[in-house]
């Protein structure tokens, strides 16, 4: 790996009522790297994202982003230093239009008073239009997000991440509930995003992971089981035993 490390997890453990959701997890992701995370249910994929984004505090271990320690920060602060997150269940503002969803997500001063006085500049208008274009939702711009299809909501949420201009995107199951054509488009979109930002994708869909064509980390029982190209991990006997072979 030639790029420098952007996200770094070392010895992270999280216990819920005696259940070790994460067990001495180590992971590092480089600048502009795209990484796929796979693993059986309960392997700790979502918990890992919760820890990175400040939703869950680890019992022990270190999490840092650039040189910043994340474990003492809350969700809002972490979002504002450049980490965006897409949830497993697409979460958009259903009673706002697609356009408004993007406008609210756009990188801008976040204080109450700034929001009261807010108005769009021409340049920002342009950015929203471009993002709409990128996520294929230009015709739906004025529609309520609640009326979008499941796949469109996934795209909108990715679009919202883009508007935040994060350095790191955490994307949880982006193609769940998508048709094959949509899945393919999503893979293209994420690869495109990875040109300018680091992307961590959690996904079950192996065809999708193959289409991403990136380094894969396999999680199992809260720690890393294997890491490498998809072919390497698919041929790893331990991975076959606990995950792929079943």
């Amino acid at each position: 790996m030639t790029t420098e490390t952007l996200l770094y997890l070392e010895g992270v453990s999280v216990t819920f009522d005696g259940f070790k959701a994460l067990n001495n997890l180590n992971l590092d992701v480089g600048t502009n790297e795209m990484r796929a995370i796979i693993g059986p249910n309960g392997a700790g994929k979502t918990t890992m994202m919760d820890v990175i984004t400040g939703k869950t505090r680890p019992d022990e271990g270190r999490v840092s982003f650039r040189d910043v320690t994340l474990t003492t920060m809350d969700e809002t602060a972490i979002a504002n230093i450049g980490i965006g997150r897409k949830f497993q269940k697409p979460t958009v503002f259903e009673s706002h239009t697609v356009w408004d969803n993007l406008e609210l997500a756009m990188k801008a001063p976040r204080s109450s008073f700034a929001s009261l006085r807010w108005s769009l500049t021409g340049e920002q208008l342009e950015r929203i239009s471009k993002t709409l274009e990128r996520i294929n939702l230009t015709p739906a711009a004025k529609q309520l997000a609640g009326n979008l299809s499941h796949g469109q909501k996934q795209w909108l949420e990715i679009g919202m991440l883009l508007m935040q201009e994060p350095e790191l995107l955490l994307v949880d199951e982006p193609v769940a509930g998508m048709t094959d054509a949509e899945t393919e488009k999503t893979a293209m979109l994420l690869r495109d995003i990875a040109q300018t930002a680091a992307v961590v994708v959690v996904e079950h869909d192996m065809d999708f992971v193959r289409a991403l064509d990136v380094r894969v980390t396999v999680l199992h029982e809260g720690s890393v089981l294997a890491e490498g190209s998809l072919d390497t991990v698919q041929n790893n006997q331990r991975v076959i035993d606990v995950y792929l072979g079943r």
Partner: protein, 377 residues
């Protein structure tokens, strides 16, 4: 001309609401003061007072709608802010009584003389000045909301738990204000007011002026609230209502947004209370009763959440029905209120405003399918 300027700013419904409010706000007092009592156009004095009371309730409902309809904070304690505003105004009017009280003590209100108090408690100082009292009308509810909200929202108390602690807050204040040694008149509260800014509170002209002021306050608060909810700030609090964690992960300080809108709303409720007290002539601890706050929520739900004008309309309609029923069928009122709460929840989730907006949408020739799917939601 006026319509063209304000229509885009307030929306059609908001514009109609303000126009009707202006008409009533000017028309009722004029018809009360300047027509002879024999005229069919004459508005009797009691109707002006009653109407003024409704307008204060409408402002309270609007303030509830601002936090509940837009930000999803179901406050079951907004009556407390209303009552605090009312007490601040009541204290001013108590001080205005001066030596005209039953005991003729120029320094102390009657109830303090009755309790054998020798000096005015420190927190009563300043209330002889109208401007100070007005400041307190804003500050007392505002500060309570700020402190309460700061703790509640930072600890991420949401949903039904928040509703319960707001209810506890108003109940605690109810018990506190009942105590004589609190120095707010205990059980009897503050009453026997003589005048406000030198005008007799009994005079028809004062009543008419208070009515106009209530309409004005409602109109101004409506415009302010509309401006807030139409701004990006408003869209964010709607986002908090619908997907709080999404808002947080986008980098917004959810607790600050909630606190801001909660404080603004509490201040509006306080202003409503301050206008209410001189019109009804009394403020006592029962205004803190949890049931009052719950009623305000029912008005808001009945009128339609998230429209502002709907909440105000709901307050007026329900209270008009209440006034009629408590006279005509005194035992029926609580049953009607209960039934109304159920009917609204099940059949009219968008309240009265939903009926109107459904009607205007069909008229606007939207595709029928879209209208239906919206109606189904």
């Amino acid at each position: 001309m006026i319509a063209k300027t304000f229509m885009p700013l307030l929306g059609r419904a908001g514009f109609i609401f303000l126009a009707v409010l202006a008409l009533i706000g000017i028309g009722m007092p004029v018809l009360n003061l300047f027509t002879s009592p024999d005229s069919i156009l004459h508005v009797p004095d009691y109707a002006v007072t009653l109407g003024g009371k409704y307008l204060c309730y409408a402002l309270l409902a609007l303030s509830v709608d601002l936090v509940w309809g837009y930000c999803g904070i179901l406050s079951l304690g907004h009556g407390a802010f209303f009552a605090l505003g009312g007490y601040a105004m009541g204290m001013y009017m108590m001080r205005q009584i001066g030596a005209r009280g039953v005991y003729g003590n120029a320094e102390l209100p009657d109830f303090m003389v009755f309790l054998n108090w020798q000096v005015l408690p420190w927190y009563w100082h300043g209330f002889e000045y109208f401007t100070f009292a007005i400041l307190m009308v804003v500050l007392a509810p505002g500060l309570l909301a700020l402190v309460f909200g700061w703790f509640a929202f930072r600890s991420r108390v949401t949903g039904v738990y928040l509703s319960i602690i707001t209810q506890a807050m108003t109940y605690a204040l109810l018990l506190a204000f009942f105590r004589n040694d609190m120095g707010f008149g205990g059980n009897n509260g503050l009453t026997d007011f003589k005048d406000i800014l030198g005008f007799s509170v009994q005079a028809a002209s004062t009543r008419a002026a208070l009515f106009m002021l209530s309409a004005l306050a409602l109109g101004l608060c409506f415009i302010i609230a509309r401006k807030i909810v139409d701004s990006k700030f408003g869209k964010i609090i709607i986002g908090i209502r619908d997907a709080e964690s999404r808002t947080r992960f986008l980098g917004y300080r959810v607790e600050n947004y909630k606190l801001f809108i909660f404080v603004i709303s509490a201040i509006m409720a306080g202003i409503a209370g301050a206008l209410y007290v001189p019109q009804v002539g009394i403020i006592n601890p029962s205004e803190f009763a949890p049931s009052n706050s719950i009623e305000a929520v029912i008005w808001t739900a009945f009128g339609g959440r998230g429209t502002l004008w709907g909440a105000a309309l709901g307050a007026v309609v329900i209270n008009a029905v209440k006034s009629y029923l408590t006279g005509a069928l005194p035992n029926a009122w609580l049953f009607v209120l209960g039934a109304l709460a159920i009917v609204v929840t099940i059949y009219m989730p968008k309240g009265l405003a939903g009926l109107f907006s459904g009607w205007s949408k069909v008229r606007a020739n939207k595709p029928l399918k879209q209208t239906l799917s919206e109606a189904a939601e």
